[in-house]
Symmetry: C2
Subunit: 321 residues, 2 copies
C-alpha cells in the first residue's frame, strides 16, 4: 500500500471542474444546437443536524431541448458538514462523529431519439475528518448505460471502453466493478437491471491516494469516449411515435430507480442538498402504463429478454473471478 502522496482536495476539485467543462463542451458540440446554462449556488453554514450538510456549493449545468439531447444535466458540487449522516456511518462506525467533505461530478443525459441510450456518470471523493488525526478518505464513481432499443455492438463497445479504462489498474478491476454496477442498478420490484450496466465503485482507498485518484480520472475521462460514439451511430436513426412512447414508458423506470433506490439521490434529498440539482437526473417527460407487457417477439420484448439482466458482455468475467 502506497502512502507516498498526501491527499489533495484541491487537486481533486480542479480535476472535477475540468471534467465538467470537458463533458459539457463535448455534448454541446455533439448537439449542435442547444447550450448549457449554468447556476452557481452556495449553501450558508448553518447550525446543523447530524447528517445535514452545513455548507458548500456547486456549479449546476443543464442543457434542454437540444437537437440531440432532450435534457442533459452535468453537476459539480462540493459540500461539507460537521457530522457524517447515520447512513454513512452505520456500516463504518469508525467514521462516526467525523466532519466531512464530499465533492463530485454527477450527470444524466436524456436524449430525444429513443435509439440513443440514456447514460449516467458520477465521480466523487469523500474525506472524513477529525482534528489531530489523518483524514479517512475514499473515491467512488462509475457510469452506466440505459438503452431503449439496444444494439449489441453498442453495449459491447461501451463495456470495452470501461474495461480499457480499468486495465492499467489490474485485470480484476473491470469484472469487479462491472459486477458491482449490475448489483447496484437493479430494480428489485421489477426484477430488472436499470440498463446494461458499466462500472460502479465505492470506498476505494486501497491503492493509496495517487493511484486511486489516477483511477478516478481514468473513469471520468473515459465516459465521453464510451458514450459519444454510440450517440453518433444512433442519432440519425428514424423513430416512430410508438418507439417514443416506449422510451417515455421506460423513463418511468429511471424515475423509479432514482427515487426508490439511488443512495446519492436519497442522501441528497434527506440531508438538505439542492433539490433542483439532485433531481436534474429525472427525465423531462415520463409515462406509466398499468400492467404493460411488450408483444412477444417484438423489439421491445428483446430489451427485457436479452438486455435487462446481468451478462458477461465481453466474455471475460468468469476467468477473472
Amino acid at each position: 500500500m502506497s502512502t507516498e502522496k498526501p491527499i489533495s482536495i484541491d487537486r481533486v476539485k480542479s480535476y472535477l471542474l475540468g471534467l465538467q467543462e470537458n463533458i459539457c463542451s463535448a455534448l454541446e458540440l455533439e448537439d449542435g444546437q442547444a447550450e448549457f446554462i449554468e447556476d452557481q449556488w452556495q449553501r450558508a453554514d448553518e447550525a446543523d443536524q447530524p447528517g445535514e450538510m452545513s455548507g458548500g456549493g456547486g456549479r449546476s449545468r443543464v442543457m434542454r431541448q437540444g437537437q440531440v439531447f432532450e435534457q442533459a444535466g452535468v453537476n459539480f458540487s462540493h459540500v461539507h458538514g460537521s457530522q457524517l449522516p447515520p447512513s454513512a456511518t452505520a456500516a463504518r462506525p469508525e467514521l462516526a462523529g467525523r466532519s466531512f467533505q464530499a465533492l463530485g461530478v454527477s450527470l444524466v443525459i436524456h436524449p430525444r431519439n429513443p435509439h440513443i441510450p440514456t447514460s449516467h456518470a458520477n465521480v466523487r471523493f469523500l474525506s472524513a475528518e477529525k482534528p489531530g488525526e489523518a483524514p479517512i478518505w475514499w473515491f467512488g464513481g462509475g457510469y452506466d448505460l440505459t438503452p431503449y432499443y439496444p444494439v449489441l455492438d453498442d453495449v459491447v463497445a461501451w463495456h470495452e471502453t470501461a474495461r480499457n479504462a480499468c486495465l492499467p489498474f489490474g485485470e480484476e478491476v473491470y469484472p469487479r466493478y462491472k459486477d458491482w454496477c449490475d448489483r447496484y442498478f437493479f430494480l428489485k420490484h421489477r426484477n430488472e437491471t436499470r440498463g446494461v450496466g458499466g462500472l460502479f465503485f465505492d470506498d476505494l482507498n486501497e491503492w493509496g491516494f495517487g493511484r486511486c485518484f489516477d483511477f478516478q480520472q481514468a473513469v471520468g475521462n473515459s465516459y465521453i469516449d464510451a458514450y459519444l460514439p454510440i450517440v453518433q451511430r444512433r442519432k440519425h436513426t428514424e423513430w416512430t411515435e410508438a418507439q417514443r412512447q416506449f422510451q417515455l414508458y421506460r423513463r418511468g423506470r429511471y424515475v423509479e430507480f432514482n427515487l426508490v433506490y439511488d443512495r446519492g439521490t436519497l442522501f441528497g434529498l434527506q440531508s438538505g442538498g439542492r433539490t433542483e440539482s439532485i433531481l436534474m437526473s429525472l427525465p423531462p417527460l415520463a409515462r406509466w402504463e398499468y400492467d404493460y407487457h411488450p408483444e412477444p417477439g417484438s423489439q421491445e420484448a428483446k430489451l427485457y429478454d436479452h438486455f435487462l439482466k446481468p451478462q458477461d458482455w465481453l466474455g471475460v468475467e468468469s476467468g477473472n473471478r
Copy 2:
C-alpha cells in the same frame, strides 16, 4: 373503552369489497365513457423472509383514457405473512414475531382536466396474531386532495365533508386527523404539502372494534361525497395547453412523494407486493423541469403561495387543540 364486539375480519373484508364496488360505479357513471377493467391476483404461500408477504391476493381495478378520468386505480388487497416486517415493529416491539393480515382499499384518481384535482383515499385494517393470544389490531386510512388550479370553495367543501364524517366520533377527531394528514403528505425536499390535505389516521383501536370499524366506514363512504361534487363543478372548465403542462409538472411532485416518502408504497415494493397494483398510483404522464418557478402573481403562483402549506380551512382547529 368498549370490548363488547369480537373483531371480524370477514365483516371488514366484505365492507371493503363493497366500497371498491361503489366507488368504481360512481366513477364510471361520472366519466360516462370508460370502464374499469379488473385483475384478480393471488400470491402463493412461500417460505418467507421476515417482512415478505407470504400469501393473499387482491382485486385491482383500473380505468384508463376516460373522458373525465385519465387514469383511476381502485385496489382491494388482503395479504398475510408469518412475520410483521421490521419497519412495522420498530416502534411497537410488542408486535415482533407476530404473523399478520392486512386488508384495504387504496385508490388514486388522475383526471384529465387540470382544473379537477387529483385525489387519493385509503382505508385499511391490520391484525397481528399469535397463537393463544388475542390479536392486536388497528385501522388506518384517510383521503387527501391535490389540486393544480385550486378553487377555495372546493377545498372548504372537501374539508367540510371530512369534518362531517368525523363529527359523530368527537369534536376533536377532524382536527387531529386533518393535522396528521398535513404532516404526512409533506415533501420535505420541496418544503410543500402534496396538496390541501384532508384526513389521515393510523393505529386506531382506542374506541374498540365496533366503533373503530364504524369510523372506517364513515371515512370510506364519505370519500366519494367529498370528491365527486368537485369533479362535477370543474369538469366543464376549459383548459389551455400551458395549464396541461403545469398539471404534468405538478404530477411530478406526486411521483416524488409516492416513491420517496409514502410508507404504503415503499412497504409494498420492499415486501414483495404486486408492483403493478402498487404503482397504479403513479400518473400516466408526468414532467420535470429544471428550476421551474411560476410567474409571480400568476394562477400557478397562487397554488404555491396559498395552498401548499397547512391551513385551517374551516376555522375550527385552534379551538379544538
